[in-house]
Amino acid sequence: MPGDITINICMGTGGIAAGGEAVMSAFEDALASADIAASVKKHCAAHKVGCRGFCARDVLVDVIENGGKHTYEYIKPDMVKRIVEEHLAGGQPVQEWLVKEDYHTFHGKQVRAVLADCGEMDPEDIEAYAGRGGYEAALKSLTSLAPTDIIEELKRSGLRGRGGAGFPTGLKWEMARNEPGDTKYIICNADEGDPGAFMDRSLVEGNPHAVIEGMLIGAYAIGAQRGYVYIRAEYPLAVQRLTIALGQARERGFLGRNIQNTGFDFDIKVKLGAGAFVCGEETALIASIEGNRGMPRAKPPFPAQKGLWGKPTVINNVETLANVPYIMRKGSGWFAGFGTEKSKGTKVFALTGKIRNSGLIEVPFGISLREIIFDIGGGIEGDRKLKAVQTGGPSGGCIPASLMETSVDYESLASAGSIVGSGGMVVLDETDCMVNVAKYFLEFTKSESCGKCIPCRVGTMRLLEILTRITSGKGRPGDVELLQELSEDIKMTSLCGLGQTAPNPVLSTIRYFKDEYDAHIIERRCPAGVCKSFIAFTVLEEFCKGCMACVRVCPSGAIVGEKKKPHRIVQDVCIKCGACFATCKFQAVRKRAVYGEIHTR
């Protein structure tokens, strides 16, 4: 029963980690307490909602009354009682806990199209979704549209795959539809493996029904009877909400036999990933659903021709599918109204890293990086200098601060040496070492390579080895050129997208930050002070108060000293973990550069 007052509590993974559940039960307790119950409770309902986007401020709580909305940030359970008493019962919002100006600028330049319902309703309640127009599009599609109409409408909308490659969705569906055969499949790829990305998790947690509805429409359009959601097991909450939503959709007749009396049969199964990044690649994902090692195979044949169990199969990313019901409901014109000529609509990004307002954002294509970072993101943490933005995860690249006017769309980011990718956007500042960043991504792709093809299996290892020797002071002249040559060979000859894009972080950092590579190789220093071989931690005696704080946190026992006397770090024992540096309240622990070893061949 919706009451006059609605309380929405953010309960995505971020919200829960910040204590969302405790806040929720605090509200329930407070509302149940005798004196409140009489006056307020019967008008009041507390809901858990999906990700609100601004995860950095969790737990976020909305109080909505008579259409007016007040949002509280950083809410802890012990604050709830006062909100209930003063705001709910007394009608006076607790001013000092409400969100500040930056909360509004965070939202100012965003367009919430696919995220429209995310964070505004209880994701575990199909009625909440239906109440906001959910499943109207599916109903319309199944009852009054021909499959080809749907495909045409999608083509008109200009929707392109949100998983990374940006292939036009309508075309993909058309290919699968035109393949002969009675058995076809639609798969939702929720194996969000890019580090630094959580768009799909947030969508499935916040609005699982939109994904299901998108799959239903897609299934009808291509003629599939069976769908799969391949989702990471690392996302337990998303899996749980999705499973609940599937059950509800089945109960309400949107899945199963003879859907809404249209004679159309379709059902969806959840398949849990088992921890392999490469399974985000279509053919590897299929192999994994079939119960095999997730090793990709060559295309053609494309999955739309020969996919799961050899049948025509469409694989769409979560965000792509979640867009479908909104496009079908609001029209292709509405969708195409956002974005640029070639990149239509909006895109969800996970804005993270050294950014003040990190969180989940949705922006129209064509917005500039500067607007995202400085207007929405509020600039760099601690007022340090922006160095670069990493987009597209391990397949993407780093765009330097000088190119912040770059428009965010498929083509512009590609020409800047990166990609839109699935939507990870990690902001890097002056304390980040770009060689280390490249090495980080190669470490990632090397350990996620399936091992099937040689350029990726051996090539990424060799790239990593070269990067490792550069960051550990053993770089050789010519290493940068060798990295470039090998990178090109790997890109051109690898079997699947993982290998074909694995060298991108190397190439783009060389392209924009060659000076940092040179500094490591020639000058033997790490300008950002990140690479352990080039730094040492020391205690400045004049600042040290002898408080023993660093001695306590040092995991390797490298700090010696007595109470009230200056401490000392034994360099041979120090593992350079930085714990002391982070702990010292008096800035007595200093990081200094050391020269690298003399290079020998």
């Binding site: 053609p300 350990s447 040689i454 060979d489």
Partner: protein, 346 residues
């Protein structure tokens, strides 16, 4: 039939075949380490990359079906440069001990290293850690030499239907191993040995008995069951040291454990070397003359005393047609009886 252009040459091939197969039929060489036309295409070694007009990246000839009007370039400076890097990468994770390797002279990888003139390597680095010891009696598994072409896995799984080995782990640590990396325990058909392009899988019985250039190959037929598999005996110093089979035969080059590994009885010290005549319950060596006379005299005596039907002959299903023909002719024409049979019923 499909018409397409390969290196500026117009070629007509049956529908559905791969660019690699089409090139082979046209006599155009494209290097590969993981392809075998009897196995499903794998696309793992990437050496057969070619340029197809309209596709920005290189594609593998082994997995790309020929399409009408396709324009394919099988070689040029760029393609060869990339192929060379791939071989270089393989060698950077390989023991490169060709001078003592059993496979030298018959090794596809060695050939490619020679072809691309890889005297030095830009990429020497960590080598993958793989098991070398395997106590099984048949197959030497020197997995350090494995390049993960997966031919053995495909042969074991798809052709032999066994699946004794599979890819394990992933990325640089990937390897091919029996479950839990124990010793190989399988049908020991040796299909894996026959498809291995390097010295990773070898027959233990053949080790040190002569490299390929030292042996003479003789094609013949297997002496065991009735499949009639074609064998190629590898002979060195009057000894059969290895058995292989050609892929263009009725058994498509596949053999079983007996056919591939069961040959050493030929050179067994137990072989009968001279005729033997039993005297006082003991065998004594005899010359052929003595022996023939002995047998003919005894047979003649029995024949004249008891008639030819007191003599019988059992021929052998392991002897040739010619021998069997002579044997029955001997029984019927020389002895004069139809008492001749063989072991068809056993």
């Amino acid at each position: 039939m499909v018409r397409f252009t390969l290196d500026d040459q117009e070629i007509v091939v049956p529908e559905g075949i791969t660019v690699l197969e089409a090139a082979r039929r046209s006599g155009i060489f494209i290097p590969t380490l993981c392809d075998d036309s009897r196995l499903e295409p794998f696309g793992g070694c990437r050496l057969c990359v070619v340029q197809v007009q309209g596709i920005p990246r290189l594609v593998t000839a082994c997995t790309t079906p020929v399409a009408e009007g396709m324009r394919v370039q099988s070689t040029n400076e760029e393609i060869e440069r990339r192929r060379r890097t791939i071989v270089e990468l393989i060698l950077s994770d390989h023991p490169n001990d060709c001078m003592v390797c059993e496979k030298a002279g018959d090794c596809n990888l060695q050939e490619l290293a020679y072809f691309y003139d890889l005297r030095t390597n830009r990429f020497y680095g960590q080598r993958s850690q793989r098991l070398v010891k395997d106590q099984n009696p048949f197959i030497e598994r020197d997995m350090e030499k494995c390049i993960l072409c997966g031919k053995c896995v495909r042969a074991c799984y798809d052709i032999q239907g066994v699946g004794a080995i599979d890819f394990t782990s992933r990325g640089f640590t990937a390897k091919i191993a029996p479950p839990f990396e124990k010793d190989l325990d399988c049908e020991f058909c040796g299909q894996c040995v026959s498809v291995c392009p390097t010295g990773a899988l070898m027959s233990k019985q053949s080790l040190g008995k002569g490299r390929q250039k030292d042996v003479q190959e003789v094609d013949t037929i297997c002496p065991y069951c009735g499949c009639g598999c074609n064998l190629t005996l590898h002979v060195s110093r009057n000894e059969v040291v290895r058995v292989t089979s050609r892929p263009d035969t009725i058994n498509e080059g596949w053999l079983c454990v007996k056919g591939r590994f069961g040959y050493s009885f030929i050179n067994s010290p137990d072989r009968l070397k001279t005729p033997l005549i039993k005297k006082d319950g003991k065998f004594a060596e005899a010359t052929w003359e003595e022996t023939f006379d002995y047998v003919a005299t005894r047979l003649g005596a029995i024949k004249s005393k008891h008639g030819p039907d007191a003599i019988g002959g059992l021929s052998s299903a392991r002897c040739s047609n010619e021998e069997n023909y002579l044997f029955q002719k001997f029984m019927r024409a020389a002895i004069g009886t139809n008492n001749v049979d063989h072991c068809a019923r056993l």
